[in-house]
């Protein structure tokens, strides 16, 4: 696509390029913004700066291998991405995953959700100008990373979920450390609330900003906290439970306002829900195998397989078309970030430029997830 490098439009409005390198975009994203004074007239995202064609690459990787490349998409919820892919492959293989593996997967998913939301909380506070929460957020995230490192051997791109279960058994310290973390983190969520949530300036910045109606959110394909902030039940863990989520007792946080503050509150409540899920499971990890017996070389039967999971950002879908060979014929990922980004222009029109940054914060955009 060609566009002219223009300073002003004919009406005297200012055109500024935010990104590809800009502190607000949290990655290489490029927004072309038309401004009238401080008011936004139009936001045009330009994607493709870190496109790695992961979907095409997956076509030449085996069913065991391609899962690892999905850790590099939404790097903040790599466990959950891996989980979605593993589920799709298991659907094709017709493998029954052992109970222990299911519980481990759910535990890891929820820890990842907490880590992701905590980082989002810090980054979003930074977007509205408060720098301190970022460091507090990293203190807690670091503990989760330490837990992950012990069990999975990695801190960011876990590659822990494999078709049929998980790659290794839990580390002996896992249960103890997770319990310590949960107890510690419960006190810290209250601290988050006093530091940011109840702050008057923060609430003023968030309320009635970036409002999206439920109908619009659905038509843009928004999922996750963005859609739940409009009052639409959309949690895949509730709608189409996988790996034992149906047995757990947790709430789906819903808000109705649809503004930035509602999205913020939904995520903050999700943190508490994730903690309660971990509480329910951490003492009841069943004994047994952590991985089902699968063949060394996986082959999916001819057909189409789709699975979906709830990542920290929304619905993540994996669509595999198999011709019966060693590698998938075609793979498509439905990434939550791409759909959530598409509503940006809709909600940003008429708002101030400072709020655009806050809105992008509450959409929780992870750029490698948008540009796969």
């Amino acid at each position: 696509m060609q566009y002219e490098e223009v300073a002003t439009t004919q009406d005297g409005n200012l055109v500024i390029n935010v990104g590809p390198q800009h502190p607000a975009t949290h990655g290489v994203m490029h927004l072309v913004i038309t401004l009238h004074g401080e008011t936004i007239l139009n936001v045009q995202p330009h994607l493709g700066y870190i496109h790695r064609s992961i979907e095409k690459m997956c076509e030449s990787l085996s069913y065991r291998q391609f899962i690892y490349s999905t850790s590099r998409m939404d790097y903040l919820s790599s466990h959950i991405n891996n989980h979605g892919c593993a589920l799709a492959v298991e659907k094709g293989l017709q493998v029954e995953v052992p109970e222990r593996a299911k519980v481990i997967r759910v535990l890891m998913d929820e820890l990842t959700r907490i880590a992701s939301h905590v980082l989002w909380w810090g980054a979003m506070a930074m977007d509205v100008g408060a720098l301190t929460p970022f460091f507090h957020a990293f203190r807690e995230r670091e503990l989760i990373n330490d837990i992950m490192e012990e069990t999975c051997g990695a801190r960011l791109t876990m590659n822990y979920m494999v078709p049929g279960g998980v790659m290794f058994d839990l580390h002996p310290n896992f249960v103890k450390k997770v319990k310590e973390f949960v107890a510690f983190f419960r006190t810290k969520i209250d601290e988050y609330d006093t530091l940011v949530t109840y702050n008057v300036i923060f609430q003023e910045r968030m309320k009635n900003v970036g409002v999206i109606s439920a109908a619009d959110a659905v038509s843009f394909g928004c999922t996750g906290p963005v859609l739940r902030a409009c009052g639409v039940k959309s949690d895949i863990r509730k709608l189409a439970p996988y790996d034992g989520y149906e047995k757990l007792n947790f709430e789906e946080p819903l808000e109705t306002a649809g503004d930035s503050y509602a999205r913020y509150l939904v995520r903050m409540r999700e943190l508490r829900e994730s903690l309660s899920i971990i509480d329910q499971l951490i003492d009841n990890i069943p004994e047994g195998e952590f991985q089902a017996k699968t063949k060394a070389v996986l082959k999916l039967p001819k057909g189409e397989f789709y699975s979906r999971v709830e990542t920290a950002r929304g619905e993540f879908g994996v669509y595999i078309i198999s011709e019966g060979g060693l590698t998938p014929y075609r793979i498509h990922f439905r990434s939550p970030g791409f759909a959530n980004l598409s509503c940006l222009n809709h909600i940003a029109k008429g708002q101030k430029i400072g709020d655009l940054v806050a809105m992008m914060g509450t959409l929780d955009l992870v750029i490698p997830d948008i540009d796969r």
Binding site: P23, H136, V196, I201, F202, R205
Partner: protein, 359 residues
């Protein structure tokens, strides 16, 4: 006990003994100039280091701790780096204005230093309209910021500069009005008179609620005037990268940076002078022994103690609060602070006429 007043007086006498009065004045001006520049450099080093340590303390980090003893030489090393760095001028920038802007900002910061009384008899310029002079000169600084934003030929800089212009011009009003409450109570614009009036108690204690209100307004307004968070819209780094000084590098950037910290020092010095008695020690009514002990602490310690306490307060704001939006910022000033400050001024006037304050 060594007193700064005695030192300055003895220098004056020693010079007068051997030289004629014009030469004495010239030499004294040179000494004062060198002292101010030295104070600038020291303030820059100390305040930047303090900000980094305060922020580190609030952000559960250690802060600079490698260069020098506990990191004390960190700012000196940074300054050295900035000195030997190339100062880029972007293509299409207005070269003259681009180079002039940081100088203007720093000169304004230097000028405001003149009437500040550091301790008894230690003041560069005992001007009888000291407070008015400070408010007047500090308004010039915004021209430098607007100049920098315009001359950079960068849209982020321009947006930052325009924000800064609107912000500083608005908040100067309520800062001025809250300064006026003290001027009305004292009946003089001279900094020395204002300090002398607080011999028996600082205005923050003597002045009832109106002075408390005006102190709160003063702190909010000067935080905005110095472009500090939560009013740092001019350089909002998550929105405008670095705002009006996006294009500046090397020593020109350092001048903006230094001017920011010196401005903080100056507004806090004014705040300490107006509300906390400048170099006046803390006295409690008729507690002779206590007052005597307090008198023993030199005025310069009192002055810097108060100023740094206020600076810490302003730094605390920066590392706690999120940033306001530009329309909220102007609403806060025009719809809330300014009416309150005006009403408060009226209240103070009534208080001053009736003499209803602790004497």
């Amino acid at each position: 006990m060594i007193s700064l007043e005695h030192i300055s007086q003895s220098i004056h006498e020693a010079l007068s003994a051997s030289l004629n009065s014009t030469l004495v004045l010239l030499i004294e001006m040179a000494i004062a100039g060198v002292l101010v520049i030295a104070l600038f450099a020291v303030l820059g080093l100390v305040l930047v280091f303090m900000e980094r340590k305060v922020s580190a303390y609030m952000q559960i980090r250690l802060g600079p701790n490698r260069v020098g003893y506990k990191g004390f030489a960190q700012t000196a090393a940074d300054t050295l780096k900035l000195l030997i760095k190339e100062g880029l001028t972007p293509d299409g920038a207005d070269k003259f204005l681009f180079n002039l802007a940081p100088l203007l900002v720093i000169i304004v910061a230097m000028l405001i230093m003149a009437p500040i009384a550091f301790t008894k008899g230690f003041q560069l310029w005992d001007i009888n309209i000291g407070v008015l002079y400070v408010s007047a000169v500090s308004s010039i600084g915004v021209i430098g910021i607007l100049m920098a934003g315009w001359a950079s030929n960068n849209k982020y800089s321009l947006l930052g500069a325009m924000r800064s212009g609107a912000q500083i011009v608005s908040y100067e009003l309520s800062a001025g009005l809250s300064v006026l409450t003290i001027v009305i109570l004292v009946g003089s614009l001279s900094i020395n008179d204002i300090i002398a009036s607080q011999q028996n108690g600082w205005w923050i204690f003597k002045g009832h609620i109106p002075v408390l209100i005006s102190f709160v307004i003063f702190v909010i307004a000067v935080t905005a005037e110095t472009n500090r968070a939560p009013f740092d819209l001019a350089e909002a780094e998550s929105e405008l990268t670095a705002g009006f000084h996006t294009e500046y590098s090397g020593m020109r950037f350092a001048l903006f940076f230094l001017a920011e910290y010196v401005n903080i020092f100056i507004v806090c010095a004014i705040g300490a002078t107006l509300f906390f008695g400048g170099w006046m020690p803390f006295h409690i009514g008729s507690w002779e022994a206590f007052n005597h002990v307090m008198d023993f602490i030199p005025g310069i310690v009192w002055f810097f103690g108060k100023v740094f306490a206020l600076i810490f307060l302003i730094m605390w704001f920066r590392w706690t609060f999120p940033r306001l939006r530009v329309d909220q910022l102007l609403n806060l000033e025009w719809k809330y602070l300014l009416p309150i400050a005006m009403f408060n001024l009226l209240l103070t006037t009534v208080m001053a006429i009736t003499g209803f304050y602790f004497k």
